[in-house]
């Protein structure tokens, strides 16, 4: 039996490797684009490729990156989550409510704020999986609800964490002083590792792909699609909560009126990273690269003194090129 087995595996190794490489191509392309863009800016301006600027780029990736990690799961199921931007603002406000208004210690307030994000995701999940609302509509509604609640709860005024230096250190402190890396970057790395583990090594991840690939067949295979969808939207909500903590820690305040627009940047990062909006396909490493491409572009264009308005135009074009390249590749395959 053993010999039979190893023979079968040996014979198929090469074909498998080629197939796997083809599946990774979009990620390789995204990674190659990242390198090309980075090299371009390095030649264009010598202030770009410095250690401190690279740290800067990583630091500015944290919020979009964290949102994009969670929403990668939702998009792989073939869904979408538009509520993560304003949901993040609401979680930031709740963090302020827990820590500043209620005076809870940071170590309790932060998990509560993250769990609040999970609650937002849970409601999204129930709306999508139980009420069968289209994800676009369910999360569009949640986007408005979250924005409104953030303003109502905070009385439309920012909540400042000035008296909680420990909270601000979550983002700007440096756990390892020698490296000069802000904690926020470490949080993003940890979040990405956890997301990557969940997506590639657990049932949750396997069923995320399975639902996006063929939802009816997944249900026929005896999998409780409804339950898993609820779990997946809740997970995206937890990442939204984490993003809310990270953005308010960085700013030193919870800004209730912000958030709108972040969801589209996060979705852009996911899509640039090769995750298909049609579902079934995508990866965490791709999403991280996608988020980095957006940050590098923003940072590089800024250093080259290109106005903010043009940065958006260029980002838009990058999305078109990235998705079109993916479609062409798929047709050829």
């Amino acid at each position: 039996m053993t010999s039979l087995l190893s023979r079968a595996e040996g014979a198929t190794d090469r074909a498998t490797w080629i197939a796997a490489a083809r599946n990774r191509l979009q990620q390789l392309l995204a990674f190659a684009s990242l390198i090309v863009i980075f090299t371009f800016f390095s030649f264009a301006n010598s202030a770009f490729p410095t250690y401190s600027n690279v740290i800067n780029i990583l630091f500015s990736t944290v919020v979009i990156g964290t949102l994009a990690l969670g929403t990668t799961f939702v998009i792989i199921t073939g869904g979408i989550d538009l509520s993560i931007g304003t949901g993040m603002a609401l979680c930031a406000v709740m963090s302020g409510v827990f820590i500043v208004d209620a005076g809870l210690p940071v170590i309790i307030g932060v998990p509560l704020a993250i769990l609040f994000g999970g609650l937002i995701g849970l409601v999204n999940g129930l709306n999508v999986a139980v009420l069968k609302l289209p994800p676009f509509i369910a999360t569009l509604a949640m986007m408005l609800v979250a924005q409104g609640l953030a303003l109502v709860i905070s009385n439309s005024t920012p909540i400042y964490f000035t008296d909680n230096p420990g909270y601000i250190k979550i983002s700007t402190g440096e756990l390892i002083p020698a490296l000069n890396i802000p904690n926020a970057v470490l949080v993003l790395v940890a979040a990405a590792v956890i997301a990557g583990f969940l997506l590639s090594k657990t049932l949750l991840g396997r069923y995320t792909y399975s639902i996006g690939s063929n939802e009816a067949a997944t249900a026929l295979s005896g999998i409780d699609v409804r339950r898993w969808k609820i779990v997946i939207y809740t997970l995206a909500g937890l990442f939204t909560g984490l993003a809310g903590v990270m953005i308010s820690a960085r700013l030193g305040s919870a800004q209730p009126a912000t958030g709108m627009g972040y969801e589209l940047q996060a979705i852009a990062a996911v899509v640039i990273g090769g995750t298909s909006l049609a579902g079934g396909k995508g990866s965490i490493i791709g999403t991280v690269i996608g988020a980095l491409i957006i940050s590098v572009l923003n940072n590089g264009l800024q250093i080259m003194s290109i106005p903010q308005e043009w940065q958006n135009v260029i980002l838009g074009l990058v999305i078109l090129v990235a998705v079109y390249a993916d479609m062409v590749r798929k047709k050829e395959a």
């Binding site: 087995l5 396997r206 690939s213 063929n214 067949a217 997944t218 295979s221 999998i223």
Partner: protein, 523 residues
């Protein structure tokens, strides 16, 4: 045998009705231990409803199932699987983005605590595939596999559940002969004293090769069970089509020597169609018959440019044309009336007049991009009256019309557009009997006015009573073209189910040799 009555699976008097349709009534099936039982019936005979009942997706209105002599009430697909009933549906239930191993063990992933063990998963899958002797790479992504290999994945998945009863719905529809032999080998190895297979197929040649008995169903009812060894093909097919014609009407105005309006030669597509050739004359009704998946609709879609053709030439009025989109087809006077009226033929939320004038708005009812609504409505009213569309007003929202009248609206669209070649795909599907007669009368009068008509239909009696000639299709090919004189339920059914050059004996029994040429012998 294993218990008193010796049946592995029994279907006893099962009935299932849907609004407006009695899908199954008093259905009986007895599957013995260790046998392959073939289940045959025309399109719509109730086979897929039966499978959905057995997997617990539907609940029967009456009757019951017995599994190994015990009452069996499937609750959901998982329960059916775990009870030992594995069903391989015609439409694959695979996740194309996952690997072969991941698909086989979906829902039963081996893991250690939270972490999936892909090593164990692949080991089990490799062992299973090895044991079954399947040529599958368990790490390959399913979307990269051929259709035949995807079928193998389905089978491996079904057998991995320790199935006792395996139900296969048209398992060979997409397979070539070598693949069919592999499949039959698998089935023979699966059959033991305590297992059984229900094999749904239309291919008579295969049934002889694999099945011990054949159960025939028709219109949702049990008709009879025959011993394959003692049964001729003629007998099976007679039972299958046994229904008498709804009326004795025959096609009108049948004659030769019509002026050729459309000449299709060697039409092929990448997916299905192979070398489809036929001609269509002025004032002629050309029927297209064949079983589900034979490629009738695909011919129409390739013809009007809705699907991409990979080869062949099309001549309209003797001039060679290239058609890339339905819009170009319409410019040439070819109108396609889709089988899926509601999805593809009508804007249900819009009114009758808007629907009728939609295709011709640009040429006939607009100037400088502005729509002349009054003129459009007047034209719509005129054609609606001519076709006797029953509607309180042409401003009525289309979704409130009956099925027959909706179909007339679709026809009206193409009349206003002045098409002289009309392709009707299932023109009477979902329409009640009275309205059908009206549609038939309308088709006849259109033909008499000189329109050239292609009528695609799954209802054989309808094709027979309307068509001047009948093109019969099998597996993307034209298996024969019958004149109105030659065409009977039997001759059409034989052409649709047989591959005569591969089964000379059956073909000879039926007097149907040489049918791969397009000049068939009379039956």
């Amino acid at each position: 045998m294993n218990d008193a009555n010796g049946y592995l699976l029994e279907v006893e008097g099962v009935r299932k009705a849907f609004p407006g349709v009695l899908a199954l009534d008093d259905m009986h099936i007895n599957l013995r231990y260790g046998e392959v039982l073939a289940l045959v019936g025309e399109n719509g005979a109730g086979k897929s409803t039966l499978m959905k009942l057995l997997s617990g997706i539907y609940v029967p209105d009456a009757g019951s199932f017995r599994l190994q002599g015990q009452p069996f009430t499937p609750e959901n697909p998982k329960h059916a699987l775990e009870s030992g009933i594995s069903i391989i549906h015609q439409e694959f239930n695979l996740m194309p983005h996952l690997t072969v191993a991941q698909n086989i063990y979906i829902g039963r992933e081996p893991r250690r605590g939270l972490v999936l063990s892909d090593r164990e998963l692949n080991r089990r899958a490799a062992e299973l595939v090895d044991r079954l002797g399947l040529p599958l790479d368990i790490r390959a992504t399913v979307s990269d596999l051929t259709v035949a290999n995807q079928q193998m994945v389905e089978i491996a998945k079904a057998l991995s559940y320790d199935a006792r009863v395996l139900i296969m719905d048209e398992p060979t529809a997409a397979l070539n002969d070598a693949e069919v032999r592999t499949l039959h080998g698998l089935i023979r190895r699966f059959i033991r004293e305590d297992t059984g297979v229900i094999y749904i197929s239309h291919r008579m040649d295969e049934l002889k090769a694999i099945a011990g008995r054949i159960t025939v169903i028709r219109d949702g009812r049990y008709v009879g069970t025959l011993d394959t060894a003692k049964t001729g093909m003629r007998e099976v097919i007679t039972l299958m089509v046994g229904r008498t014609l709804t009326s004795d009407a025959r096609p009108v105005d049948v004659r030769d020597g019509r002026e050729t309006v459309l000449d299709v030669d060697g039409l092929s597509t990448k997916e299905l169609l192979r070398d489809v050739s036929f001609t269509l004359g002025k004032g002629e009704i050309l029927g297209f018959a064949g079983l589900m998946g034979a490629g009738r609709t695909e011919v129409a879609r390739a013809l009007v440019g809705a699907d991409k053709a990979s080869g062949g030439t099309i001549r309209v009025h003797g001039r060679q044309v290239r058609i890339h989109t339905p819009a170009e087809a319409a410019e040439l006077g070819i109108g396609y009336l889709s089988e899926d009226r509601k999805q593809l033929g009508l804007l249900l939320e819009h009114d009758v007049s808007e629907n009728i004038t939609l295709p011709s708005l640009r040429e006939r009812f607009s100037r400088w991009g502005l729509v002349d609504r009054l003129m459009a409505r007047r034209a719509a009213k005129e054609v609606a009256d001519r076709l006797t569309i029953k509607t309180p007003s042409i401003r009525q929202t289309t979704k409130f019309l009956s099925g027959g009248n909706q179909q007339k609206v679709v026809i009206a669209k193409w009349l206003v557009k002045d098409c002289d070649i009309l392709i009707f795909d299932e023109p009477t599907r979902g329409i009640d009997v009275g309205a059908k007669e009206e549609i038939y009368a309308l088709l006849n009068s259109l033909a008499q006015q000189g329109k050239a008509i292609i009528m695609i239909s799954s209802e054989l009696p309808e094709v027979l009573r309307m068509s001047h000639r009948i093109v019969v299709m099998t597996e993307g090919r034209v298996s024969g073209i019958l004149s109105a004189d030659e065409a009977t339920q039997e001759s059409v059914m034989h052409l649709a189910t047989l591959r005569p050059n591969e089964n000379p004996e059956d073909a000879a029994e039926l007097g149907l040799l040489d049918l791969h040429s397009t000049e068939p012998k009379a039956v």
